[in-house]
Amino acid sequence: MSEVIKRRAETRMVPVPSHSIVPERDLGSQPVLETHHLGIEFGGLKAVDDFNLTIGRTEIAGLIGPNGAGKTTVFNLLTKVYQPTTGTVLVNGRDTSGMNIVQASRLGLARTFQNIRLFSNMTVEENVRIGLHNQISYGMFSGILRLPAYWKKEKQQHEQALELLSIFDMQDLADVQASSLPYGAQRRLEIVRALATNPSLLLLDEPAAGMNPHETEELMENIIRIRDRFQIAVLLIEHDMRLVMGICEGICVLNYGKVIAKGTADEIQNNPVVIEAYLGRRKEG
């Protein structure tokens, strides 16, 4: 395992008031995300119940759990795809209740999707440019009349898009149609597109799904590199335990919509409740 990844073990996690832990280095700054008693019901079924989590400013956090535990539902609650029935979400200290997806995104949340949602009829570069939509902007009339603002901002967008693509070495694919990319590259493009929105918290929904071990290892290094370079926090859902245990500093385990454990990788690996949730209980006798 590479040098970058080994550093994870050096991080010291400290508890914060909301029964959560954050890396010691983030104690001085405001948490990027706080949820208090977050919950949602679908016709009586509590898909997520009493979900409390605090994520430090530069933390790489993991959200794991068996299939159907409600992990993606949590993402949808955080990004306002669903409105929670109970509880609050604070992003950079601001309450997001009553906000829509667009407003939440402008607060600094960016996400990728479990089932890839690229703009498939557009090129790779155009996909990233959509992420830059609110970062480098000009009006409709500048665009139609090709005013100086159009040329200036288009050039900026082009340069920044290529720079972001170069994180994953994808700058040569800029003119390829997004749908014709291989699966792994599509996942990486989603991450680049999310990064383009200049988020303070990056939500990755199964970023390593469908990747081979070599690609996964590269992804792990890249996630750490992205965190270091942009000084952002990352919350990821993943089933690949090598990835989760390798790079996540704080890990939260969800089962049947409830948090069953929180802690560092070592703590989670040895937690009997977690082992039971994943493997079941040995039959007595």
């Binding site: 949602r117 155009e126 959509i130 409709m140 665009g143 139609i144 149609q177």
Partner: protein
Amino acid sequence: MKTKRSKLIYNCVTFGIIIAAFILMQLMLSAGSLSRTMKGQLIPICCWIVMAVSLNLVIGISGELSLGHAGFMSVGAFTGIVVSGWLLNAFQMENTLLRLVIAMAAGGLMAGLAGVVIGIPVLRLRGDYLAIVTLAFGEIIRNVLNCVYASVEGTSLRLGFLNPNLPGTLLLNGPNGAVKVGKIATFEAGFILILITLVVVLNLVNSRSGRAIMAIRDNRIAAESMGIPITKYKMMAFVTSAVLAGMAGALYGLNFSTLVPGKFKFDQSINVLVFVVLGGIGNILGSIISATVLTILPEVLRTFADYRMLVYAVVLIVVMITTNNPKLQSLLRTPAQRLKQLFRRKQPADGEKGGQAA
């Protein structure tokens, strides 16, 4: 339409074809080799091209099926007629070109306003529901226009709803439509309107706003997560399309000596939809070609009298089948590829001086 370069080529080809066709028509007009029916069709063809391209903005680029496009055209047409008549009767404005320009601008503006008013409720819907509601709105516009009366008295414009007893010179007479319209539309104006439409649509598509509109079409949730306000951009496409349709409508209305609201029925909206679908959804050049061919076709087929709509339908079906048939497609593609190869073979000889451009 993949790389920037191929987009540029596509745009240049589109403009080139339009300009070449215009010059050809002008030459044929001056040589007197156009028949009377063809001459009469020139301005309507321009209008239908603009209608098709503007509807393609909603259907192809924004991805919403709108079935009320003729409604916007009729708003533009009757606004244009009223404004033109008002300017002539109240201010004795004899300059037809100026009147035409003002009338078209007014037509576009009113249609744009109608687009905003209709867009607010309609764009909350998706898919089939949106189609049905736009269809209904097209019909509502026609029925409202059936009840509108307008006249000029002195310099003031008087409008009446369900009230035909207006003082002064009557411009709009409810269901009997516009009377004594000055035929002031010109082919040149139509050509310029097409150019404006192409500049607006193609530049919009290749700009930040256009990309946002296409992103919403491709994946609504992802676009929202990237911070793109859905309603704003859907509205932008819808209203831009309505403005262009209104301008086309004004030009269309000022090309006839009389015009009734019944002219813009549901089947006109469907007609424009046929242009768009036949030309290829999202394909601007295709819309232009299919609008031209399908406007001329029924006129050319007039000699077949009773059978002309039958032939028209058969031609439509045959074109749809052939363009979707892989075997026929490859047959059609081969000559095109041969042409391309011809060009490619020539390129290195020319391009060697230019360096590594190719």
